[in-house]
Amino acid sequence: MDAIVIDKLSKTHRPAWPWQQAVTTLHEVSLSVGYGEIFGFLGPNGAGKTTTMKIVLGLMRATTGTVELLGRPALDVDVHKSIGYLPESPYFYDYLTAEEFLWFYGRLGQVNPSDLQQRIPTLLAQVGLTEARYRPLRKFSKGMLQRIGLAQALIHDPQLVMLDEPMSGLDPVGRKDVRDIILGLRDQGKTIFFSTHIISDVEMICDRVGILAKGRMVTVGSMDELVNRNVAQSVEVICEGIDGESIPLVKEVAMRVLQRGNRCWMALPGQQRLEEVLAAVRQAGGRLVSIIPHKGSLEEIFLERTSQRT
């Protein structure tokens, strides 16, 4: 059983006036997220990531399709006891102090007052806001708001955490802190579903990735599967004592050849003809310095898949 099961989810926004056209923002989106996974939901701006998350959380109704969370229908309000959510660019009640704010969300999440008294200082320390415990949120910076937002998503110790662009507005230290928190949550056995358009965040921490473009799922898979399966690997070869351009096989096979004095750098499109090229280099009196295989990056996959939809 999976923590999130999205089956053929579509959303068509009804027009406000009869002369306007209906707009479909999601087209039969299907994906599943296993328990204990960190799932990265990637897509360019306007791809439909936030719409999908809103439907999953019951903030928006799907036109067709179903969503199950933790084995129950997403529209069952009780399942929300086990879900934490941080929206994109959150705005919170600025008249509350950090402690009051977490207390409010904790009580809404049906946490006992005695548990909250212990949990609030722990969470504030976890997100680096201990000093700001009694400060009203109106005096918080954007990064601090993002941190307190993350704390409210975790205050009721949810099993499933959904984060919409959790790293936006954070400096490099803050981004690392959030990544560490997410990894810590996985270590506790939580399931994390987070949307972003920042690929490096996904590459660093996600187990599986889904790419959405123009409201359609274009790829879902584990990081290893995606990177190895979808993009041809390239191999970087560096040799000494030859002029690469003068070897016919190198000219034929290499995608690019650069000569820096005695040293030749060449990029080959995969490993298929590597042995042939190395033999030709040796035959020409050259000496091998290094071979560096390059895996395709998630960014390449992202650009390739999303550009097919534009």
Binding site: H13, K54, L57, G58, L59, M60, R61, V77, D78, V79, H80, K81, I83, Y85, L86, P87, S89, P90, Y91, F92, Y93, Y95, L96, E100, F104, Y105, R107, L108, G109, Q110, G149, Q152, A153, H156, M162
Partner: protein, 254 residues
């Protein structure tokens, strides 16, 4: 019920920390105090003037809070997107709307109680008798605030703050003119005008029923039957509007 109370408590705190509220209450207290001075300008009517001005000030501020704070409560949550994190919790939309309503009603009731207490102290200090009719008047004011808050909440569940304000104020004005509407409908020879005025008469609440300030200021006590029937009418009207507001809110996309 638990979630409803948590939202109500937060709404109460939110409104309590709003400076506008204090300004309005201060304004009402100033008016109540000034009524003593106004009373001294009249001969033999001081008690009546104090009662008139005091009750009017309480009514005005109570209704202003109900309308303008009531409109903002739900729309602010949507505009600022705080509603996302709330509805992602184990709370139904009906509980959210009702929590907001209860929080505002509580603050409205508290304000009216404070203003009324100050008013009674003023009456007592001015040497007049505190009459039972004043309590009747303030009870119906409270019911009017319940109705006006429900109207404001109803409109704010599906329209913009500006439109909600216009519609709620429209209901308030028409609600105090329903008697005239009925007379216009009866005398109108144009069937369309008659239809519109009749429809407005039945749709809008008859808010004049809650207005017994004139009698109360003169010490005239209304019957218990009238008091109960009018209270029941107000509660029923507010309840129907809240049911409609919750139904609309349940269907909304955010």
């Amino acid at each position: 019920m638990h979630s409803l109370l948590v939202v109500a408590q937060n709404t109460f705190r939110e409104t309590l920390r709003d400076k506008i509220l204090y300004n309005l209450v201060f304004f009402a207290l100033l008016l109540i105090g000034a009524s003593v001075l106004l009373g001294t300008l009249t001969i033999g009517e001081q008690a009546r003037v104090v009662n008139d001005v005091g009750l009017a000030a309480i009514n005005l501020v109570g209704v202003i809070i109900a309308i303008f704070v009531g409109i903002g409560l739900v729309t602010k949550e949507i505009d600022r997107r705080t509603i996302y994190t709330i509805l992602a919790r184990p709370i139904t939309r009906t509980q959210f709307v009702m929590g907001k309503y209860c929080g505002l009603i509580f603050i409205g009731g508290l304000n009216i109680s404070i203003m009324f207490s100050m008013f009674l102290v003023t009456v007592w200090l001015s040497g007049s008798t505190i009459q039972g009719s004043l309590f009747q008047a303030v009870e119906l004011m409270l019911v009017e605030v319940l109705v006006m808050t429900a109207i404001a909440m109803f409109f704010s569940t599906f329209s913009s703050p500006t439109l909600s304000a216009i519609m709620t104020l429209g209901f308030y004005v028409i609600g105090h003119l329903t008697g005239d509407l009925k007379r216009i409908a009866e005398k109108s020879k144009d069937p369309i005008a008659e239809g519109i005025t009749t429809a407005l008469y039945y749709i809008c609440p008859n808010l004049e029923l809650f207005n017994i300030k004139g009698q109360a200021a003169s010490g005239i006590v209304v019957s218990v039957d009238y008091q109960l029937a009018t209270t029941f009418y107000g509660l029923l009207y507010a309840a129907l509007l809240l049911v409609a507001a919750c139904r609309i809110f349940e269907r909304r996309d955010f």
